[in-house]
Symmetry: C2
């Protein structure tokens, strides 16, 4: 499927209610464990999504729109705010994420991006030239990536409880990604 802004928004606006439906009021038994050292719990994934709303997608879109193709994005630190976020209840993080996403989608609408703007570009500190279209498509896939991750991390809490069915449950065999 080719990127279209309206199709992208359909996913971006659904992620906060999806995460609320899945995680709100869920006990820490489900939301605090991770997949082992250096991996993230569902609680931490939501903290990471919040940080993305603040420091990644819209700020980078603004850098691209400024029109200097040699401008380079500020590197995105993936675990910023984790220590602080761990002290907050997950319900509160889910609310913050929903508010920030909603604000960012309003901002995105105000940018009035057309085909010309989608082809504008700036520099990623590691990848080099990237376009607005690629940035926004990545925002969408990044949401889906972390939804799949949360499902996988929670499923693994029952890895030792499913007996021989483990063989049929692909999610238990997915490699660890972040």
């Amino acid at each position: 499927m080719e990127f279209r802004l309206d199709r992208a928004r359909e996913i971006l606006e659904r992620t906060p209610p999806t995460l609320r439906a899945l995680l709100q009021d869920l006990p820490q038994d489900w939301t605090a464990p991770n997949e082992g050292e250096g991996t993230w719990s569902p609680h931490e994934v939501v903290a990471h999504l919040i940080h993305g709303e603040r420091a990644d997608w819209i700020p980078r879109a603004r850098i691209i729109l400024a029109g200097d193709e040699s401008a380079t994005f500020t590197p995105f630190e993936r675990e910023v705010g984790f220590a602080e976020a761990r002290r907050q209840p997950l319900n509160s993080l889910l609310q913050t994420f929903a508010r920030l996403r909603s604000e960012n989608l309003r901002t995105l609408a105000r940018l009035e991006l057309g085909d010309a703007q989608l082809e504008m570009a700036a520099r990623h500190p590691r990848f080099g030239r990237v376009t607005m279209r690629q940035l926004l498509a990545t925002w969408v896939v990044h949401d889906l990536n972390h939804l799949a991750q949360i499902s996988r991390v929670m499923s693994k809490q029952y890895r030792n409880e499913v007996g021989p069915w483990e063989e049929f449950l692909g999610v238990l065999h997915m490699r660890i990604t972040r």
Copy 2:
């Protein structure tokens, strides 16, 4: 984490609202494509979940509860009802799934399963002896498995749109599972 019926219910009851939040009113551009021949679209995954509510979890729990350890489950055909389900709108499938899940959770409560019942067993046509505890833990992981699958299938619609970020997006590299 050890299996507990109340912890399991927390996931089982969240799956229908989670899928509604993610998929309801979403255009077919997102919900109809699959990952290639022999794989399932998000629409078909919901059809599969409906069939599980009818033919898998509660019927097998009843076989176990009947008390004959040599009783063998009816094999579960994974794609039953797919042709019919493809003709129905996804919103209608989501509603059917929510209704059946809600009925099954009420049935599960009425079974009043205690530790003794969780250790009861019957025979899986392929695996041999399986316990009630394993069946119910599998019900939970099966939900999370298909939620991860739906996220993955949708993310792949933008595989060619994310440019160099593809490298960072683990969900695009997960192997195909069902």
